[in-house]
């Protein structure tokens, strides 16, 4: 009867939402729009770190760009009072992610770090997650990408190269998170300290507009920064409960 009792345990345990709010870590990013200059250093950093393919002009023309992090631009006003604002857009790692529920095979789910994880080798390519994602940050491999030799020598061995028919997106550089946790574990199982690791985009941002860290650590910069009075979340009205906080641009 153990099967039944196991079922009953689960029944008691799993019927309320958010039982897994208790993450080990809760990785969070803040982006200060008052600092962002739209230089796109983050974009290239991401391309280099995550083996994001170069699709070529024709594919670009078809609208099949591959950028886990992209810079969106929004103009306000007309000449001579035109103003341009940039906003970096990447997977918001929502805690209530629409994309996760829709995947029929569970290829995308919420891992114990509060990350929205994408399992490439489980993905069957229904692309439903891309439809459900309001931030449109999921990118699909429409074919097998190739690197003109010897460019493939640059590929990061810590990150898989995705084949055709697979959805991919920003992972908050999970390979770096793993590395950091591994180091932390080896060195008497302490927690990963603030600033010990950063995603490629954060690491390279020339204005330090991007801040990354563990929300659970209340001493961390990201915790302070996400509690900055200027903070807001894009499309917050959709209740995606995203893990990326933006700091409002200051008009002066």
């Amino acid at each position: 009867m153990s099967l039944f009792s196991r079922f009953m345990d689960g029944w008691r345990k799993y019927r309320k939402p958010g039982y897994y709010d208790e993450f080990d870590y809760h990785w969070t990013m803040t982006i200060d729009l008052d600092k962002c200059t739209g230089c796109e250093a983050c974009v290239t950093a991401c391309q280099a770190e995550n083996n994001i393919p170069v699709v070529g002009e024709d594919e670009m023309a078809k609208g099949r760009e591959m950028q886990w992090i992209r810079i969106e631009r929004y103009w306000e006003g007309e000449y001579p009072n035109a103003k341009l604002s940039f906003i970096p857009m990447m997977c918001q790692h929502c805690d209530a992610a629409p994309c996760e529920t829709v995947c029929p095979v569970g290829a995308t789910y919420h891992n114990q770090d509060g990350l929205n994880a994408q399992i490439y080798n489980r993905c069957i390519g229904t692309r439903a997650c891309a439809v459900y994602c309001p931030y449109e940050v999921r990118y699909f491999n429409y074919y097998d990408h190739e690197w003109d030799s010897p460019l493939e020598q640059q590929l990061n061995p810590d990150v898989t190269v995705r084949g055709k028919g697979v959805m991919e997106k920003c992972t908050f550089c999970i390979q770096r998170i793993r590395q950091a946790k591994d180091v932390a574990k080896d060195d008497d199982r302490r927690r990963v300290q603030d600033g010990e690791m950063q995603p490629a985009c954060v690491q390279t941002c020339p204005t330090k507009a991007l801040v990354f860290g563990d929300r659970k650590d209340h001493e961390s910069q990201v915790y302070k920064s996400m509690n900055d009075p200027r903070n807001y979340r894009v499309l917050d009205e959709l209740n995606t409960d995203s893990s990326v906080f933006y700091l409002k641009k200051v008009d002066a």
Binding site: E65, Y142, Y143, D144
Partner: protein
């Protein structure tokens, strides 16, 4: 009501039906060959190319990640929604006028479902892993995600295909038996097996009646659920103009609508090609016409409601979606849809129109074109205008997609052609039921009411 058929004796029916199966003219083979080769060229070759190259062979992009494949999928599911569903309804309500043709209608259901299922394979990026969407025990202890609308689809469609297959088969058992006695050779063997040794005893009839009734009772809610679920693939998302409560009824109505139109088309073709003039009559077209008319009115109403709610929401997202649908890149398709599915059907207010064959044929085809457009627009317009304007884009189908779409019709035709040579495409015993039962005095056949 049985004005045309009552002149005929039971025998004639047999002769006609058996002839339709056994006697095969060159015309048939030519059509079959054409349909078959078109299927191969337009459906399977492009598909294999796509398997080799990747979904990139189609025109989909970012953000337009869904395209005609999904539209076609919905379309075929929709087309399936009048065969089985309606014959269930009519079986329960005992309305006999449709009995002559419901079998081919059910066949339509079955084959459009098959095509739809194939489209799922065409749509996904890695069809070779499609079985992962099916719940089966495996050593990885991996199970599908039962919260996903797409998985509802898998379950619903699987059930629906099973149900329809069984339903059409059960209905045909007596006729298999009948044909069995008239055929010889491999056909005879086949029908012997298919008829399961049916003898038509009072007991068997009684059981069949009940089994049939229960199936009907089960399949009606199933059919309704299937298309509601298909609609939830969209409605459960938060994409502006897709995230709507009205979607389930909208899809169901649309499905029955296009399905019924499909029936009209098929009826017409059968009538001409298989020589069923006596069985498929003005009466049927008249009734189908009325049904179509009602459906088109409901459909139009729901469309209106959709627009209204979008306007009433007052959010930038919904406004944009609305404006884009009406006047955007795909606007001409939208108005074409309105013309074919909302305006043209008004013609059917006139009985003369309903009871004249060719116009009905044309209209029914027009309606299905319109309904296909509707499905395409649901996918295309909403995906290209979502929350972040800087990520907007436009999706245009590629040659591969169009060819596969054409090919799918050929596939359907092929399957149907094979069907008419195996199944008695008119249900004999039910037609007999609609006829005057012979009286004591064989000399004087009394006009009218069946016992």
């Amino acid at each position: 009501m049985t004005t045309e058929t009552f002149k005929l004796g039971y025998n004639d029916i047999h002769d006609d039906v058996v002839r339709s199966i056994v006697k095969t003219g060159p015309k048939y083979y030519i059509t079959l060959a054409t349909a078959g080769s078109v299927t191969l060229l337009c459906f399977f070759f492009p598909w294999f190319y796509q398997l080799y190259y990747g979904i990139g062979a189609a025109g989909m992009n970012h953000p337009g990640v869904w395209g005609t494949y999904l539209a076609s999928f919905i379309f075929w599911i929709g087309l399936s929604h009048s065969g089985t569903l309606l014959s269930c309804v009519l079986h329960l309500t005992n309305s006999s006028w449709r009995k002559a043709m419901y079998r081919s209608a059910e066949a339509m259901t079955l084959f459009s479902l098959v095509v739809a299922a194939t489209y799922v394979m065409v749509h996904v990026g890695r069809p070779w892993f499609i079985h992962w969407a099916v719940p089966y025990p495996n050593q990885m202890e991996l199970w599908p995600n039962f919260r996903s609308p797409l998985l509802f689809d898998v379950m619903a469609i699987a059930t629906y295909i099973t149900g329809s297959t069984i339903f059409i088969y059960m209905g045909s058992i007596p006729d298999f038996a009948a044909v069995r006695d008239r055929t010889s050779g491999w056909r005879n063997t086949m029908y012997t097996l298919l008829s399961l040794g049916w003898r038509g005893t009072d007991k068997e009839w009684h059981r069949l009646h009940w089994a049939y009734t229960f199936l009907a009772v089960l399949i009606i809610p199933l059919a309704v659920s299937v298309h509601s679920i298909v609609s939830w693939d969209f409605a459960m998302s938060i994409v502006p103009s897709l995230h709507q409560t009205i979607f389930a009824p909208y899809f169901v109505v649309g499905a029955i609508y296009s399905g019924t139109a499909g029936i009209v088309t098929v009826m017409f073709v059968l009538r001409k090609t298989m020589g069923f003039e006596q069985y498929i009559t003005k009466l049927h077209f008249d009734n189908l016409g009325k049904l179509l008319l009602v459906l088109s009115l409901i459909w139009t109403y729901i469309n209106g409601v959709e627009l209204f709610t979008a306007w009433y929401s007052g959010t930038s997202e919904e406004y944009e979606a609305l404006g884009y649908k009406l006047f955007g890149y795909y606007a001409w398709l939208y108005w074409e849809m309105i013309l074919f599915c909302a305006v043209a059907p008004m013609l059917m207010f006139s009985t003369r129109f309903r009871t004249s064959f060719v116009p009905m044929l044309i209209l029914s085809i027009a309606i299905n074109i319109g309904m296909y457009t509707e499905r395409f627009l649901i996918v295309a317009t909403s995906l290209s205008r979502q929350y972040l304007p800087d990520a907007w884009g436009v999706y245009v189908p590629s040659l591969v997609e169009i060819s596969i779409m054409v090919g799918s019709f050929a596939l359907f035709t092929t399957l149907f052609l094979i069907f008419v040579k195996i199944f008695p495409s008119v249900s004999m015993y039910e037609v007999k039921e609609t006829m005057a039962t012979p009286k004591m005095e064989p000399a004087a056949p009394a006009a009218g009411s069946p016992a």
